[in-house]
């Protein structure tokens, strides 16, 4: 069975400072892992995905995530936050070869001046 835990429901950072959104997963088989962003009243957009290639994955808008199998983690980072990064972020897991996506509970990122 697959599951995903987002450790922080809310994260607040100042503009220009680093962002860290934490995600731990559980999967019986080699997982695919995704980070999606949801801006207010907008659809879900893929930030990046891990699919058993490079463990450090670079995504859009300067975000990246590192897959750490030993820690079962897939934390999302960005060196410098921008006001436009304020949104809800979802960590998502899918077991290898499967169809079903399992969403984390989401992390609301707030960026302050």
């Amino acid at each position: 069975a697959q599951s995903v835990t987002q450790l922080d429901s809310h994260v607040s950072v100042s503009e220009g400072t680093p962002v860290l959104l934490r995600c731990n997963y559980s999967s019986s088989y080699s997982p695919s892992l995704f980070w999606y962003v949801q801006h207010p009243n907008k659809g879900l957009q893929l930030l990046l995905k891990y699919t058993s290639a490079a463990t450090l994955v670079k995504g859009i808008n300067g975000f990246e995530a590192e897959f750490k199998k030993s820690e079962t983690s897939f934390h999302l980072t960005k060196p410098s936050a921008h006001m436009s990064d304020a949104a809800e972020y979802f960590c998502v897991v899918r077991e290898g070869g499967g169809n079903k996506l399992t969403f984390g509970t989401g992390t609301q990122l707030k960026v302050e001046l």
Partner: protein, 114 residues
Amino acid sequence: SAVISQKPSRDICQRGTSLTIQCQVDSQVTMMFWYRQQPGQSLTLIATANQGSEATYESGFVIDKFPISRPNLTFSTLTVSNMSPEDSSIYLCSVDKGGSAEAFFGQGTRLTVV
């Protein structure tokens, strides 16, 4: 990639009535998915709709409450039946090839039941 159009984008409905949500994709896809996002919550899968077969419902969701149609490879509908205020949510349509592929989502239908 896939572009998904969902209608309506929002609606306010009376309890006891039904609402049908439409999902149109710009390319042929085998698998389509319907999710619910309750206020302040994450996404929960309602059902998987494959063309030519009955939809497969997740635990806690039943066909009588959420009937789904999948008449062809580019279109699906989800009906929320006999609505109550607890059905107030965002309903999202998604297409997905499974495995390591990216899932694409519609803009969602924001439903309020009064």
